[in-house]
Symmetry: C2
Subunit: 189 residues, 2 copies
DNA sequence: AGGTATACGTACCGATCGGTAACATTGTCA
DNA sequence: TGACAATGTTACCGATCGGTACGTATACCT
């Protein structure tokens, strides 16, 4: 095969379709059709559609932390600037025309059932994000670091959702500004 | 019929199933089965499943504003206390074991397609919520009322999502506290 | 060249999807 | 009683769902 391996093509196409239209909205037939492969190829690389969705999210997880760590690395030792950099970027992304929020968050909404493969990946990602935000809040010297960390998480999740609800010009564009105000207020006390 | 009208029973069951498990996850067969009616009855009361979903959300919209206005009415002329009351209640609800967030928000995530009947209702609700939050922020005398109103919306949406992602003990329980900090910071300048 | 393992395609499975046609039954009210 | 509207019943539609049995082609190694 000159083409990349079937499994990789499938994951690439699935990632795109799942993110843009939702996991439940996309059938395996459409995935294999757009990937130019056949269904048995999908089921040789992935044990089920649910596991394919989980694989999509695991890849999403990697890319998410790459973006996060990029913002962190840009401002060594300055957690407040790290947060600002990360949120500024999120704020910009939410203003793009076909922004669809966070694949992790969306998957958790689509699969409320506890223990679903996709949801497991999503929950783990969010738990880790919460942990890191709280740690950064503590590093900033916040009086109540856990509350500030959680507040930042709420703003971030709100930006993900509002971004896809309101489109360009929506409330998500102010996420960095609001986060900064919240940080300022939390450091003062 | 001794029972309430078929259409009402269907809507009641659909509302429960759609909210808890998601709209795409529930088939019309399950709705009519749980409602103790038959499929033709559903399609005599509702032109399609999508319209049934929209009806569910229109009812949700009514109940949402009832809760909102209740918090408003409890503190006449004091928008800051109104917000606090509303958010305190949201924060409590998110800590309940099988909390599933906001039906409006979830529907918008499930149906990204622009113009879908369910999404239309959801978007209208969120636009109005944004309008009112900004108005309340202005009434508080915030320097940048639109930014504060949007910040409150981000916190609220974040609470809806985090509530169903993290369950009890999650970040959503701090939504009222963080909103108050944000308001405080926004009034100072 | 031949063997072998791996990858792929054709064709199909039963179940469920949203939705409907045709007709029987019921309660209400004139 | 008779007409009407609402609900019930049964059976069905084509399309799509996730998933698989089974035969074929290709690449590599000896």
């Amino acid at each position: 095969m000159a083409q990349p391996r079937a499994g990789e093509r499938i994951l690439r196409v699935a990632r795109d379709l799942f993110y843009r239209q939702g996991i439940r909205a996309i059938g395996v037939d459409e995935i294999v059709r757009r990937a130019g492969v056949t269904k048995p190829s999908l089921y040789r690389s992935f044990p089920s559609k649910d596991e394919l969705a989980a694989s999509y999210l695991r890849q999403y997880d990697l890319e998410f932390w790459a973006r996060f760590d990029e913002a962190v690395a840009a401002h060594p030792g300055d957690p407040r600037a790290q947060i600002a950099a990360f949120l500024t970027r999120i704020g910009k992304r939410t203003q793009k025309p076909d922004y669809r929020g966070c694949g992790m968050t969306n998957a958790a909404v689509e699969y409320p059932e506890h223990g679903h493969p996709a949801r497991v990946v999503s929950e783990a990602n969010k738990q880790e994000l919460r942990r890191r935000l709280r740690a950064m809040a503590a590093a900033m010297g916040a009086g109540d670091a856990d509350t500030l960390g959680d507040g930042l998480l709420l703003l971030i999740e709100g930006a993900y959702i509002s971004g896809q609800l309101f489109g360009a010009g929506g409330p998500a564009k102010s996420v960095a500004r609001n986060a900064d105000l919240l940080i300022e207020a939390s450091l003062k006390k």
